[in-house]
């Protein structure tokens, strides 16, 4: 191989549900990151819209799902939400923790299909699954409120689902491509595939 020739990393086949040592560490880092960023942005009183809570950190489980698989995405969202609630002293709300986990799991389902993180196709696919993830995750969490509080579907959609879903997709759609492009550079530099 001449010096001018660019070295190509051998393509490793990604496994969708692999959960080895690396995935353990990525999940733990993702969960801690999600908790710290959520906690930090709560206290910084981000200029948001009205009473809708701005939570830009929701992009973390989505991104970790896409980069490292659905299990990592799920644990990042699920454990991260538990940790941020523990830090804030907000208690333990299982169905919202589960919803956050699903918000990371669904985008993770396309992790095997994404090789080049800065390709337009990958970015669009990521954006599509951000919407599906937010819809699935927040949908399950909101429907659980019917079971717990006895509210009807209309009340749950307007009071629980829509505010959470709309802010989450806004944060996800804007921040996910930025993280994916940044990760493409990191992956290329370190030889990750």
């Amino acid at each position: 191989m001449s010096e001018k020739e660019e070295y190509q990393m051998p393509e490793k086949k990604k496994s969708l549900f692999k959960f080895g040592t690396r995935e353990v560490v990525y999940s733990a880092i993702g969960a801690a990151l999600y908790a710290v960023l959520t906690y930090a942005t709560n206290f910084m009183q981000l200029p948001g819209s009205g009473n809708v809570a701005m939570r830009p950190a929701v992009v973390i489980p989505m991104f970790f799902g896409i980069a490292f698989g659905p299990i990592v995405g799920f644990i990042t969202g699920f454990v991260g939400n538990i940790l941020s609630d523990l830090l804030s002293g907000w208690g333990f709300w299982f169905w919202w923790d589960l919803g956050n986990g699903i918000m990371g799991l669904i985008p993770g389902l396309i992790s095997v299909a994404i090789i080049d993180y800065k390709a337009i196709k990958s970015l669009l696919l990521g954006e599509l699954f951000v919407i599906l993830g937010a819809a699935g995750g927040m949908g399950i969490a909101a429907i659980s409120e019917m079971w717990v509080s006895g509210a009807d579907m209309t009340a749950v959609i307007y009071a629980n689902f829509l505010p959470a879903f709309l802010t989450n997709i806004a944060n996800g759609l804007i921040l996910l491509p930025i993280l994916m492009v940044a990760y493409a550079a990191v992956a290329q530099r370190s030889g990750r595939q």
Binding site: T21, V24, V25, Y26, S27, A28, I29, A31, A32, L33, A35, V36, L37, Y39, A40, T41, F43, M44, Q45, L46, P47, M54, P56, A57, V59, I60, I75, V79, G80, L83, D85, L86, L87, G89, W90, G91, F92, W93, E145, M146, W147, V148, S149, G150, A151, D152, M153, T154, A155, Y158, A159, A170, I174, L175, I178, L179, A182, Y183, V186, S190
Partner: protein
């Protein structure tokens, strides 16, 4: 607490040892009780059953020996949630009661009422049934909240990994939880350093003008470096774990858990509560929404 305009960012857990009854209960028994309570309580809308569960929750809450000053942040969130569900959804719009309260009912204030000073005439069709349902919601959600709000303040953060392992979660998952607790202080420090570095470059997060999208976009200079640095650093952690044969053998835990006789009693009580509730609700069809006659007479006359 977090100080965003300082070079030091402190993240502290809410737990502290209080020498309380709760401190002596095994965390596994506590989780089993908490979930048994949640499932049992959500089988009923009858206030007579809900008073029973609410009383249990209040007794359980007092076991924690927490002070109002410590838990008020958690209760503030619960209050917002209860206000939105009970006052707005059930009393004002009626949507929150649609899933349980049958349509119709005995209307309270059939003529409506006028708000003094502003002279607004209000008629929102509130019924005695919806009002009673609001009381039931308060009992049910208040009880569930009392059980779960207590957790951050009374459960040792070092115990989570061992606890979930003890509850049957695979080692790798339980250790992920343990590890994430350990990463929190490091990442909080990274966050503070990144914020300071960006501020030194003229980054002003507090004074952002523009619409919602622009505001979200402005978070990127904070989120991207922290995330990428964490991913790069995680390689070293993973390699170190692999070198120590992580996952090859059965894991041991630094935090030791031991069941006492009172933990066993609590688990038996939880199981009986769950089974009793299921038999009452599904076997005998008890615990459906019910409004006492005296309540309707009191309001409607």
């Amino acid at each position: 607490m977090l100080v965003s305009d300082s070079t030091i960012m402190l993240v502290t857990w809410r737990y502290k040892y209080r020498n309380s009854i709760m401190d002596s209960i095994d965390p596994r028994a506590r989780w089993i009780f908490s979930f048994a309570f949640l499932i049992s309580c959500t089988m009923f809308w009858d206030a007579r059953f809900l008073i029973f569960f609410f009383t249990i929750a209040v007794v359980w809450y007092t076991f924690g020996r927490t002070k109002w000053k410590e838990t008020r942040h958690g209760w503030l969130l619960v209050s917002v949630m209860l206000f939105s569900m009970i006052v707005i959804n059930t009393l004002i719009t009626g949507g929150g009661a649609g899933g349980v309260v049958p349509p119709g009912g005995h209307e309270v204030w059939t003529q409506g009422f006028t708000i003094p000073w502003v002279n607004w005439h209000v008629h929102f069709g509130l019924t005695a049934e919806r009002l009673w349902f609001a009381i039931c919601q308060l009992l049910r959600l208040g009880g569930i909240s009392a059980i779960f709000v207590l957790i951050p303040y009374t459960m040792d953060s070092r115990s989570y990994g061992a606890t979930f392992h003890g509850l049957g979660m695979p080692d790798r998952f339980a250790y992920t939880m343990e590890l994430s607790f350990r990463f929190i202080p490091t990442l909080a420090q990274d966050f503070a350093a990144t914020l300071d570095a960006q501020k030194a470059r003229g980054y002003e997060i507090e004074k952002v003008k523009g619409g919602l999208f622009r505001k979200i976009l402005r978070i990127a200079p904070l989120i991207v470096p922290i995330t990428m640095n964490s991913i790069v650093a995680s390689e070293d952690v993973a390699n170190a774990m692999d070198l120590r044969c992580f996952g090859q053998y059965k894991r041991t835990w630094l935090f030791k858990l031991k069941f006492h006789w009172w933990d066993i009693l609590l688990i038996i009580f939880s199981a009986l509560m769950l089974m009793g509730s299921a038999v009452a609700a599904y076997g005998f069809k008890m615990g459906n929404f019910w409004v006492p006659e005296y309540f309707i007479n009191l309001l409607v006359g």
